[in-house]
């Protein structure tokens, strides 16, 4: 059983962390679905702790230079650029 029901406010908080701009309707709809889905996930509480082992270890590459993309290729999908920089709104 879920410890705390997930309400629209919680959904909005999570949406902020995930940078998704939900409107109130969406937040409400998701809240209802999440409650059900999370309750289903609660069954994981029954799972015992199990040790894992690693398949692969020490995969590394040599410190050798490889060709980079040229500036045009790097910028080609950007919506806005300026003088070779990616451009976007201010930070704060």
């Amino acid at each position: 059983m879920s410890e705390t029901p997930v309400d629209a406010a919680e959904v909005k908080h999570v949406a902020e962390l995930a940078r998704v701009d939900l409107d109130s309707e969406e937040a409400d709809a998701f809240a209802a679905q999440f409650a059900e889905i999370l309750e289903y996930f609660d069954a994981l509480d029954e799972v015992p702790e199990v040790d894992t082992h690693e398949d692969l270890v020490n995969v590394m590459r040599a410190d050798d230079i490889e060709e980079s993309l040229d500036q045009t290729a790097a910028l080609q999908n950007a919506d806005e650029t300026e003088d070779g920089f990616f451009k976007g709104p201010r930070v704060s």
Binding site: A18, I37, Y40, L44, N58, G88, R90
Partner: protein
């Protein structure tokens, strides 16, 4: 003819000759093709053109294949019916009112409809096997690390593999021969760096390669499609038969009977852990997705959030506009599962469940050479039927997700029809046991 299997039709020629010379291949639209639009079935990437090829695409070209286009898919691989695509649903060539499965629905439909000889899909929780079963074609999900993921747009990077789809087992296996192998650009394929003891090489020149070989290097998957299953033990996973549609079970049992007549022994196998597999899969997949899809902020590519306000506001707008509902749902749930206060309850517990599933499978392979289940517990749903209840959609993955959790290989091979709709049978193999499952599947076919 219009199944809407393709998002972009474009011909990419390969080398003049090679093992795939003269064959056409459709490539799922989450696999990067240089100079050719790659949308992942999303509005977010409607105009995104990668400046590089995925390693598997390079290998296709080197093998002489002709790529004929990028196929339709559930948005970012999130779905089981190809109905979450921003580019419209795909019709199942076997029956147009029904879904082709997903998320690689376009790839499977293209092959089933003869629009391409072969196709590549990706399988995170069943997304190659599911549409293969629903469309009546063959699909393979390789062992994690057999095939390079470099260039595959990540949904859940600890679970997914690119896999071949074809009309026959041998064709699918031949395509696997071409795309598999170690890739310096994908660290998770570097089984060629392991030391002689099978474990880690504590050697300083790890980057230069060790004494082991990657499992694909000496393998010949196509040759394993010889139908020779006399003496093979097939473990039937009873937990995944209960709750399946009777018509599916009937086809499954009939196919097993046929195999027995070819000299196969069957044993019953129970995997207690699979009861929690769907939960574990979704928590892990959604958590990884919430991080893998964070890069879509409109700065370097993708839908832009515009200039107004500050960066955070712009990002949030871009993602609200660019992502569909299922993608948003999984990103939010994944963020939640990883967040402080819930991490231990959900994400950590899901990892424990995953380890449990792996161990269960390891135990099962001590009693059987390959395991068998119906690929899907249901027949292909009608278009539009599955969209109202997300949880019901997730439960459809019950037979396929345990395989991804355990990092094992599996194949779906057509096992006849029920009510005119295709049914698939799934074989699961031990780690790097692709040859065994190819062999078993070829016996079903033959």
């Amino acid at each position: 003819m219009a199944h809407n299997a393709f998002i972009t039709r474009e011909t990419i020629d390969g080398a003049d000759d090679g093992p795939l010379s003269g064959r056409t291949v459709a490539v799922k639209d989450n696999i990067s093709t240089e100079g050719v639009r790659t949308t992942c079935g999303s509005a977010m990437l409607e105009s995104y053109v990668p400046p590089y090829d995925a390693t598997v695409v390079e290998r296709l070209k080197q093998a002489g294949a002709t790529i004929v286009g990028k196929t339709n898919m559930d948005e970012f691989g999130m779905g089981g019916t190809t109905e979450t695509s921003a580019y419209g649903p795909v019709e199942n060539p076997a029956d147009s009112g029904h879904v082709p499965g997903g998320s690689s629905g376009g790839s499977a439909a293209a092959v089933a409809a003869g629009e391409a000889d072969l196709a590549l899909g990706s399988d995170t929780g069943g997304s190659v096997r599911n549409p293969a079963a629903f469309c009546g074609v063959v699909g393979i999900k390789p062992t994690y690390g057999l095939v390079s993921r470099y260039g595959l747009v990540a949904y859940a990077n600890s679970l997914e593999q690119i896999g071949p789809i074809a009309q026959t087992v041998e064709d699918a296996a031949a395509l696997l021969d071409v795309i598999s192998g170690p890739d310096p650009n994908d660290g998770t394929t570097r089984f060629d760096l392991a030391g002689d003891d099978g474990g880690a090489a504590d050697d300083r020149s790890a980057a230069d390669g060790g004494s082991a070989t990657h499992p694909a290097t000496d393998a010949n998957y196509a040759a394993a499609a010889d139908g020779d299953v006399n003496g093979t033990t097939v473990g039937v996973v009873t937990d995944l038969l209960e709750g399946a549609d009777d018509r599916v079970v009937d086809r499954f049992e009939a196919t097993l009977d046929d195999l027995r007549s070819q000299g196969v022994d069957t044993v019953e196998v129970s995997l207690d852990s699979v009861e929690h597999a769907v939960q574990a899969y979704y928590v892990i997949a959604m958590s990884e997705a919430s991080s893998n899809l964070a890069r879509f902020d409109g700065v370097r590519y993708g839908v832009s959030g515009g200039d107004e306000g500050n960066w955070n506001e712009s990002f949030a707008r871009a993602r609200e506009d660019g992502f569909g509902e299922e993608v948003k749902r999984r990103i939010l749930l994944g963020t939640y599962a990883l967040s402080a206060g819930y991490h231990d309850k959900y994400y950590q517990k899901a990892q424990d469940a995953r380890a449990w599933v792996k161990r269960d499978f390891d135990d099962a392979f001590e009693r059987a050479d390959v395991l068998a289940t119906p690929t899907m517990p249901v027949l292909p749903p009608a278009l539009g039927e599955s969209l109202s209840d997300p949880l019901q959609l997730y439960l459809m993955d019950a037979n396929t997700v345990p395989v991804n959790l355990a990092n094992l290989p599996a194949i779906s091979v057509p096992a006849g029809e029920a009510d005119g709709l295709p049914v698939g049978l799934q074989f699961v193999g031990p780690k790097f046991g692709e040859e065994a499952i190819v062999r078993a599947a070829s016996a079903v076919e033959g």
